[in-house]
């Protein structure tokens, strides 16, 4: 990850490097030119020194010739030495162009010194001495002339160099202008890009943040850079996703609550309806009770009892429809039902009970036995003129209580049994709806949460046995 700090550092380093390169180049150029200048000026200085030294020698010589004091002699010796030393200096000026002239020049100085030495050895004011004195002056003049010549030669040989320096200095100004233009352009562009690389991710982030603020959580936050901002954006995006999830959860909860509310309302409504529907039967069995009293008063006790049984049955039906009861209660209902049926079938209907009293407290859904008995009555007793017997066995089988309802009727086909156990409606003749039995199967299975709670054993013509295995361990009675 490239950090913004590193970007800034890199940028300023590049700027510094560029500046340094320019500075070094200019310094180098200056140094180079300076060295050459110095060299050239030095050459001129050496040449002019020679001319000066030879003049000095002649002046001192003339002074000495006029006044031969030791002081003047000393002066002459000194200036001679100066001339000698500048004669050696001149060797430095030698180059290919002035070689010939310079050699002459050096020899001229030598000649001057020789002539002076010769002059010193001669008798003063002799003709030869005067001649030599004149000659020294002439040689001095030659030296001066040759100095001018040499300087002229220097000028000529260095002319291209001077011109190039002049040209270069003009060009240097141009170069500086171009360099300033180029570097400033580069810097402007670089700083534009640089600032863009910092601000554009920030802008993107700002935009994303304002989107979030507006509540749009679905747009992904992407920042195309690889610095801290990108990291920030990534974190930001993470936060957005989290928020999004939370919101989703809240929404789902709200929906659930709403549904719950709806269901509650529906439930209340149905309770209300069921209460409403209970009103009419109450009125009905009040009426039945009134009828029973009337029958009793009119001396028909049997009808009176019958009506009480019907009323009880009806009350039981209304009251216990959706709750579990004990086996005892069920058997009571069966008993009352049989009483009513007895009033119809009289002696044709035989009910035999074989009941283990200890088993009567097991929980069982209400109205379980009655539909099975009714089924047996309809299919075993009714079609048979001689009637039939229905036997109920209740046995304790340790784990469960076995209830056997046995009839000696015409029996059932295999197909019918399967249909019943598959909880399908059975198409039957007569007035029975066929809903009853399969309803019982369904309720039993739901109640005990197991499939083997009911068995049917039957074959055509040899009666039917319905076997109920009612588990003892089913916990508390369902409310």
């Amino acid at each position: 990850m490239k950090s913004i700090r590193r970007k800034i550092l890199t940028f300023s380093t590049i700027v510094i490097v560029i500046m340094s390169i320019i500075w070094i180049a200019l310094t180098f150029y200056n140094y180079k030119t300076q060295v050459k200048y110095n060299d050239i000026i030095n050459r001129y200085l050496i040449l002019s020194e020679v001319s000066g030294a030879s003049n000095q020698v002649i002046t001192d010589l003339n002074n000495y010739m006029n006044q031969s004091t030791p002081e003047n002699l000393q002066k002459l010796e000194n200036s001679k030495k100066a001339l000698e030393s500048s004669r050696y200096e001149v060797f430095k000026v030698r180059n290919e162009v002035n070689d010939f002239t310079l050699t002459n020049y050096i020899h001229l100085m030598g000649s001057l010194i020789e002539t002076i030495d010769r002059l010193m050895g001669q008798e003063r004011d002799s003709e030869a001495a005067l001649k030599d004195l004149a000659e020294t002056t002439r040689i001095r003049n030659y030296i001066s002339e040759m100095t001018l010549n040499l300087i002229d030669m220097e000028l000529k040989t260095h002319e291209p160099f001077y011109r190039s320096i002049m040209e270069q200095s003009i060009e240097l100004v141009k170069l500086a202008i171009w360099m300033v233009l180029l570097t400033s352009l580069l810097l402007i562009m670089a700083s534009y890009w640089f600032s863009l690389s910092i601000t554009s991710p920030v802008n993107q982030l700002t935009k994303a943040a304002s989107e979030l603020a507006k509540g749009k959580f679905d747009n992904e936050i992407t920042v195309k850079s690889n610095d801290e901002i990108a990291f920030l954006a990534k974190t930001f995006d993470h936060m957005r996703i989290n928020i999004n999830n939370l919101i989703q959860q809240i929404k789902e909860k709200a929906k659930l609550e709403h549904e719950l509310q709806q269901n509650k309302i529906l439930l209340q409504e149905s309770q209300f309806r069921s209460l409403q529907s209970q009103m009419n039967p109450h009125f009905l069995f009040n009426t039945l009770n009134t009828l029973s009293k009337k029958a009793y008063l009119e001396g028909s006790e049997e009808v009176s009892d019958l009506l009480v049984s019907v009323a009880d049955l009806l009350r039981y039906n209304l009251k216990q429809m959706d709750r579990s009861v004990t086996l005892r209660d069920e058997l009571m209902v069966v008993h009352q039902y049989m009483q009513i049926q007895k009033a119809r079938f009289t002696d044709r209907l035989q009910l035999k009970l074989d009941i283990d009293d200890s088993c009567l407290d097991v929980a069982i859904p209400a109205l379980t036995l009655q539909p099975i008995i009714e089924n047996a009555v309809i299919h075993a007793i009714e079609p048979n003129i001689s009637g039939g017997t229905i036997t109920i066995h209740v046995k304790d089988m340790n784990e469960y209580v076995q209830v056997e309802i046995e009839d000696d009727g015409i029996g059932m086909s295999e197909e019918t049994i399967t249909q019943i156990l598959m909880e399908r409606q059975v198409q039957t003749a007569g007035h029975s709806t066929g809903i009853g039995f399969s309803n019982v199967v369904k309720r039993l299975r739901l109640f005990y949460e197991r499939d083997d709670v009911i068995q049917i054993e039957s074959s055509l013509g040899s009666g039917t046995v319905v076997l109920l295995k009612i588990p003892k361990q089913r916990g508390e009675v369902h409310d």
């Binding site: 070689d99 010939f100 002239t101 000649s111 030659y142 040759m146 260095h158 270069q168 352009l185």
Partner: protein, 327 residues
């Protein structure tokens, strides 16, 4: 829009880069090579050729030949001198050369006392060999090592014979020489006289004059007055041929006269080509230069010691105007 911006930016950068490259290559270019410094002086011989007639065709040829030979011999040679026969400046250069202790001096001889003084005393004192070239000064007077140039006596004879063959053995001739009466002129005159004395029918009118143009014209005027029926002219000093022809032209037609001179004068060959003069003794200045350098090197190397004191003569021949034969 953005694309245009990029293109423009690119162009700006490229052009700036180009300008910078051009400027930088000038600024940082290697400087024009200065002459290389030399620590040690050459051990080559330093020779000087000194003349009084710098930048004349004749002496340019001498220096060309000398330079060529010096290059061949590996010696360094410089040509010094004065212009327009300025002997004062010439002698100054000569003295300068002696004081500069050059290894050898090749010099146009000047038949004056100052010159002889310098050669005999100063140059000899400093042990500098001197060779005269083109114009000789006798060895006894100058102590020159040798002379390289034309045999002036023979040249005089050559011109005289040409005169004879053109003019015949009868006629009047004006000889014009300068007052200096230098050795080479004397030799030429000797040569002319030696040839012409066999023909008594030829009358020779000898005249001396100063070097300046006015003096030449005045002298010529006098001579033409003295000898109005002159037939031929010989300019013994070639520098006088210009004013001479001019003066003749002022009076008569130049064509019928027989006019001769030598080729070292600045106008000799020009006038010859114009057909104004009838013959020019052509010398061989390039060879003079070459031989003089060769001989002085020989002497310096000790190959030829001593040099031939009579001198080394170079070729001469007569340039004759063929057009004259037509009339």
């Amino acid at each position: 829009m953005k694309k245009y911006m990029y293109v423009i930016m690119g162009l700006v950068f490229v052009s700036l880069g180009y300008l910078i490259f051009v400027s930088a290559s000038i600024v940082f270019s290697d400087d024009i090579a200065l002459p290389k410094a030399k620590k040690q002086s050459d051990t080559r011989f330093r020779l000087v050729l000194i003349t009084r007639d710098m930048d004349t065709a004749f002496w340019n040829k001498v220096s060309t030949g000398a330079s060529r030979q010096a290059l061949k011999e590996g010696a360094s040679l410089e040509v010094w001198g004065s212009y327009s026969n300025d002997s004062e400046q010439f002698l100054k250069q000569f003295e300068l050369a002696i004081h500069s202790k050059v290894d050898g001096i090749i010099i146009q001889g000047l038949d004056t006392d100052e010159f002889k003084e310098l050669t005999k005393v100063k140059a000899a004192f400093n042990g500098i060999p001197i060779i005269t070239v083109a114009n000789d000064v006798p060895m006894k007077e100058s102590l020159r090592r040798t002379y390289v140039g034309s045999d002036q006596f023979r040249a005089g004879g050559l011109i005289a014979r040409q005169l004879l063959s053109d003019m015949g053995t009868e006629g009047k001739v004006i000889l014009l020489a300068d007052k200096q009466n230098e050795y080479y002129q004397k030799e030429r005159l000797k040569g002319i006289y030696a040839t012409l004395k066999m023909y008594p029918q030829i009358k020779i009118q000898y005249a001396e004059t100063g070097e300046s143009k006015d003096q030449v014209i005045t002298t010529m005027r006098d001579q033409l007055n003295k000898v109005p029926d002159v037939d031929g002219f010989i300019a013994v000093n070639a520098k006088m041929i210009g004013p001479m022809v001019q003066e003749i032209g002022n009076r008569f037609q130049v064509e019928p006269y027989f006019i001769y001179t030598f080729d070292e004068g600045p106008e000799s060959l020009l006038l010859f080509e114009d057909g104004k003069i009838d013959g020019v003794v052509e010398q061989d200045p390039e060879t003079m230069g070459e031989i003089s350098v060769e001989q002085i090197i020989n002497w310096l190397n000790g190959k030829t010691v001593p040099l031939d004191s009579n001198g080394y003569f170079t070729n001469i021949h007569m340039l004759k105007d063929n057009r004259n034969e037509e009339h």
